[in-house]
Amino acid sequence: MKEQTRSVILQCDDITVDFDGFKAVQGMNLRLLEGELRFLIGPNGAGKTTMLDMICGKTKPTSGRIVFGSAEITRMKEHQIAELGIGRKFQTPSIFRTLSVFDNLEIAMKQPRGVFATMRAKLRGEDRDRVHAQLAMIGLETKASWRAGDLSHGEKQWLEIGMMLMQEPQVLLLDEPVAGMTDNETEKTGELLREISRTQSVIVVEHDMEFVRNFASKVTVMHEGKLLKEGSMEEVQRDDRVAEVYLGKRRDADASRSTA
C-alpha cells in the first residue's frame, strides 16, 4: 500500500545492450521508487553490473530508454548523469590515491563542477564541517590528511562510499559494497544502506546472500540478461526457477555465505 504513494525515481524500459553480438542485457525493465533499497542478484554473467553501467552512463544501451526523475538519461554523458544525481560505487575501490582523504571528499562534495567554479572555490566553514561529519561517519577522522592510496582495502571501500554520499545523489548504485569486508564491517554497511534509503534510493548488486537476506526489502533476480523474478526475499526464495538457476541445489545450504 505504502509503495503506491511513492513516485518512481528511476525507470529502465526494455533496455538491451549488444556487445558485438553478445546480448549482455535483453529487454530488461526496472522501476525504482523513491526511498527504495533494491538488491540486484543473479549468477555470474547475468548482466547486473552492466545494468548499473547503463544507468550511470558508462555503457550505452543498444535499445530501450532510461528515465531518471523527469529526464531521459539514456544518451547522456557520465558526468552529466552524475551531476543530475546518480552516484556510483564500483566493485573495486576506486579512490584518488595521490590526494589526501580529505581532498577526496572535498572534490566529491555536491558543488558546481565547472572549471571556473572550482578555480574560485573556497573551503567554507560549513564545507569543512560537512567533510568532517562524513569523515566521522566512515571512521576516517584521524586519517583525514593521509594519502588515500595508503589506506587499507576496507578503508578505501568506506572512503568511496563517503565520496558517493558527499555527492548527495538521489539514486546510489553500489556494486558489491561488502566484498572483502569483515562481518562487523558488513553489518555496519547494511545499517548504513538502510539509513541512506530513508532519504535516497539505492540499488545494490550483491552476491553475499546472507547480506541480501538481512537487509533486502525487494529483490530483483536477473539471469542471462533478463528479468527472472522480482519480489520480496521470501517470494524470490520460493520461486522454483530462481532456485534452479541461481540458488541451485544449494537451496538448503544457502545460509552459508555464498560469493559465487
Binding site: A82, R113, M119, T142, W146
Partner: protein
C-alpha cells in the same frame, strides 16, 4: 636557536625559502657577469616552460612532447615585432631575398607591441585549446595523445621551414636592433630584460601555485589518478584537460617571447622534436608534480649543460647521459620527489597513533 627555527610550521619555512630565492634572483645582476646573467635569463625562460609542462604532465598526467611548438610560436611573435622594428618600415631582409614586394597581412599587426605580447600568449593557448578539444573530448589519451603532439611538432616545423618568404625558413628570424628605442644588445637593456624575466617567472609560479592549490588543481590530480572515476563524480575531465593544456601552452608562449629577447634569434630548430623532448626532461629530472622541482630542473639542468660543455667539450654529453640515468633509476619522481616522499612518510607515522581506536566506522 636552530631547534626553534626548525619548529616553524612548514608553510612559513617554504615562504621564507621562496623569499630568499626571489631576492637572490633579483640581486643576480650584482654578482653575475653579463654573460652569465644572459645565460641565467635564458634558463629562467625555460623554467617558465617547465612550470607549464608540470601543470599538464606532473599534475594532470598528460605527456606533451609538443611544447616546443608553443614555445616557438611565442618566440616567432616576438621575433616578428623585433624584426619589423629593426627594418624600420622597409620590408624585412629575408622577404626581399625571397622576392616578396609587400609585407604579408599577418605580419602587419606585429608592428604593435601590445598585439605581439597578446598573440605570443594567446596563439599557443588557442592552438592547444583546439588540439585539446579534438583529442580530450574524444578520449584520446596516453601515448596516443603524446604521438599527436609529436605530429604537431613535425607539421609546424615543416611549415615554418617551407614558407621561407614568410618565416625566414631554416635560418629563422634574426637581426634585431632595438626594443623601445634601446639597443637590445647593450648590458643595461640585458639587465632590465633579465629582471623582467624574473618578474614573469615569479608571476608564472604564483599562477601555477594558485591553480594547483585550488580545487581545480585537486581535480587535475584526481584526473591523473583515475580519469573515469572523475566522470562518475560529475566532472567533465575533457574541459579540465583542455584548460590545463591551454594554460600550459600559453606559459610556453610567454617563455618563447622572453627567450627571443635574450638570445636574439628564433628558428625552427628551437621548436623541433629535440627541444620538445628536452623540456620534458627538465621536468622529469627536477621532479614532476612539484612546481619548484620543475622550475629548478630547468635551471639546474641547463646550467649543468653549459658548465659541462665549457669544461669538458668532448665528454659533456656523457655526463648529461649519466645524470639522466641516475635520476631515472634512483629517483623516479625526480629530485624533488625525495622530499615529497619524506613528507607523506612523516604524516603516515603521525597518523598511526590513535588510529586503532576508530578502526571501525561509527555508523
Amino acid at each position: 636557536m636552530l631547534h626553534k627555527l626548525l619548529r616553524l610550521p612548514q608553510g612559513k619555512w617554504m615562504l621564507a625559502l621562496y623569499a630568499v630565492a626571489a631576492i637572490a634572483l633579483f640581486c643576480a645582476p650584482l654578482y653575475l657577469s653579463d654573460f652569465r646573467l644572459n645565460l641565467l635569463a635564458k634558463f629562467l625562460a625555460y623554467a617558465i616552460v617547465a612550470l607549464g609542462l608540470d601543470l599538464i604532465w606532473g599534475y594532470t598526467g598528460i605527456l606533451s612532447l609538443g611544447h616546443g611548438v608553443f614555445f616557438g610560436l611565442g618566440g616567432y611573435a616576438m621575433a616578428m615585432y623585433l624584426k619589423l622594428t629593426a627594418s624600420g618600415g622597409r620590408l624585412p631582409d629575408f622577404m626581399e631575398w625571397s622576392g616578396l614586394t609587400a609585407l604579408p597581412w599577418f605580419w602587419k599587426p606585429f608592428n604593435s607591441f601590445a598585439f605581439t605580447v597578446l598573440a605570443g600568449i594567446l596563439v599557443p593557448a588557442l592552438l592547444a585549446l583546439i588540439l585539446g578539444y579534438f583529442t580530450f573530448r574524444n578520449r584520446i589519451k596516453g601515448v596516443y595523445f603524446t604521438i599527436l603532439t609529436q605530429a604537431l611538432v613535425i607539421i609546424t616545423t615543416t611549415l615554418f621551414i617551407g614558407q621561407q618568404a614568410y618565416t625566414g625558413g631554416t635560418n629563422g628570424v634574426t637581426g634585431y636592433t632595438k626594443l623601445f628605442g634601446y639597443s637590445i644588445a647593450s648590458p643595461g637593456t640585458k639587465t632590465v630584460l633579465y629582471l623582467v624575466t624574473v618578474a614573469f617567472l615569479i608571476a608564472a609560479f604564483v599562477l601555477c601555485r594558485v591553480l594547483v592549490k585550488s580545487r581545480f588543481g585537486k581535480v587535475l590530480r584526481a584526473i591523473n589518478d583515475g580519469e573515469n572515476r572523475v566522470r562518475f563524480i560529475g566532472y567533465n575531465p575533457a574541459t579540465y584537460q583542455m584548460i590545463a593544456f591551454s594554460v600550459s601552452a600559453g606559459l610556453a608562449g610567454l617563455a618563447g617571447m622572453l627567450f627571443v629577447l635574450h638570445v636574439g634569434i628564433i628558428s625552427p630548430s628551437m621548436m623541433g622534436i629535440v627541444p620538445s623532448i628536452e623540456m620534458v626532461l627538465w621536468v622529469a629530472i627536477g621532479g614532476r608534480g612539484t612546481l619548484v622541482g620543475a622550475a629548478l630542473g630547468a635551471i639546474l639542468l641547463n646550467s649543468a649543460k653549459s658548465v659541462f660543455s665549457e669544461t669538458y667539450p668532448d665528454a659533456w654529453l656523457f655526463f648529461m647521459g649519466a645524470l639522466f640515468v641516475i635520476v631515472v633509476v634512483f629517483l623516479p619522481k625526480g629530485a624533488a620527489g625525495l622530499f615529497t616522499q619524506l613528507k607523506w612518510f612523516k604524516r603516515k607515522e603521525a597518523g598511526h597513533e590513535g588510529a586503532d581506536s576508530v578502526r571501525y566506522p561509527a555508523v
